[in-house]
């Protein structure tokens, strides 16, 4: 289950960013998962639950942004949408398709409790 390696990395990056901002708790993590990334959001959620135990992200909400897949048919020379592999052109039914989008796997943002800001305002 490669999602566990990915989950550990997500928590590592989230904690490092939160520490830079002097936060004590991460309230949410936003992850972009492309439809063609080869990653199951459900499996990733399961692994994030385990990977975040005892970390600043222990109770964080996980927000997934699913990005659609798209490609380019090398025969028709047109852009097409691709939801899964094999990528087949709906017009010529050929499989000569290059992928443009949908393989993304990114940590977009994290939300933290702004303790520092609150203290500064006191």
């Amino acid at each position: 289950m490669h999602e566990m390696s990915l989950a550990l990395r997500i928590i590592e990056v989230a904690e490092s960013e939160a520490k830079k901002a002097a936060a004590t708790r991460i309230s949410s993590i936003e992850v972009e998962v492309g439809r063609l990334a080869g990653v199951m959001a459900e499996a990733l959620t399961f692994c994030l639950d385990a990977a975040s135990r005892g970390t600043m992200a222990e109770s964080a909400k996980i927000v997934f942004i699913t990005t659609a897949g798209s490609g380019h048919c090398l025969d028709c020379k047109r852009d097409i949408s691709v939801d899964e592999f094999p990528a087949q052109c709906p017009d010529c039914h050929g499989f000569g398709v290059t992928i443009n989008n949908g393989t993304e796997l990114k940590i977009r943002s994290i939300s933290i409790d702004d303790n520092e800001g609150r203290q500064d305002n006191v």
Binding site: S5, S59, D114
Partner: protein, 254 residues
């Protein structure tokens, strides 16, 4: 900027899903601050993979990452390859398995240098494991390095180890539709070796169909049909290995 998720708006908001976890409970009255991160989850692995690739290029080492389901015959293919071309080309091997040093011992018996990397509960090798194994293995400059990945057609597809190519191995005792079932691996690979062809007379395996389905997933795949048992088809595989080996040496020397 998109207000819902602070991105550049290049996605469909119907596809935003929030996973509340059982332990999700905190004081919402605290001030929340959002920090944009925009980091590829695989960035660390990819950076280490690039460092491995640069090392292989400097040393003129042709590194190939062998991937397959368990039991397809990766180790048998390696044993035969080392026995047949090991005098002509220096070959070393990184063996990846969850447990045991059995495969490394099989490879060492052929006379090649081999190191075993046990992933424990892990399901794939990553670039850091390869980076850590290299100082111990010390592959010779101008040589061939085979990385035998954990038998798994899913997870190793995502992890760049710094190899020149992923070689996916399938055996004719498996279903012809493996490429459709595990498309990410067949897309990540550039070479497909079909093993155990000596068994074709006894099976219903449709070789042409298997190749056709694999080409649907990855039209660029190059195929080799071999039998690690009797050696059939290995000449083509060796010809390709020699060509690739010469290519990296020529490129680096030019």
């Amino acid at each position: 900027m998109c207000d819902s998720c602070h991105c550049n708006g290049n996605h469909d908001h119907q596809n935003v899903t929030i996973h509340h976890r059982s332990s999700h409970s905190h004081n919402h009255s605290q001030t929340e601050k959002t920090i944009r991160v925009e980091r590829d989850v695989l960035d660390k692995n990819n950076t280490l993979g690039a460092a491995n690739r640069a090392f292989f290029a400097r040393q003129q080492i042709l590194a190939l990452n062998l991937v397959s389901s368990p039991g397809s015959g990766k180790t048998s293919i390696l044993e035969r390859t080392i026995r047949d071309v090991g005098r002509e080309l220096t070959i070393s091997v990184i063996e990846g398995d969850q447990q045991t040093v059995r495969d490394a011992e099989r490879i060492q018996a052929t006379g090649a240098e081999a190191i075993q990397v046990n992933t424990g509960t892990g399901c794939h090798l990553d670039a850091h494991m390869i980076q850590s194994a290299l100082p111990q293995l010390k592959p010779t400059p101008h040589s061939l390095l085979f990385i035998e990945n954990v038998g798994n057609l899913v997870c190793p597809a995502l992890f760049d180890l710094g190899e020149a190519a992923k070689v996916v191995i399938i055996s004719v005792t498996e279903g012809e539709d493996k490429p459709l079932k595990y498309p990410h691996m067949f897309r990540a690979a550039s070479i497909c070796v079909i093993n155990k062809i000596d068994l074709l007379p006894y099976l219903d395996f449709d070789l042409a169909l298997c190749k056709e389905l694999a080409r649907q997933v990855n039209p660029e795949l190059i195929f080799f049909e071999v039998s690690a048992k009797n050696g059939d088809g290995f000449d083509n595989w060796y010809h390709w290995l020699r060509q690739e080996f010469l290519l990296i040496n020529t490129v680096e020397n030019s």
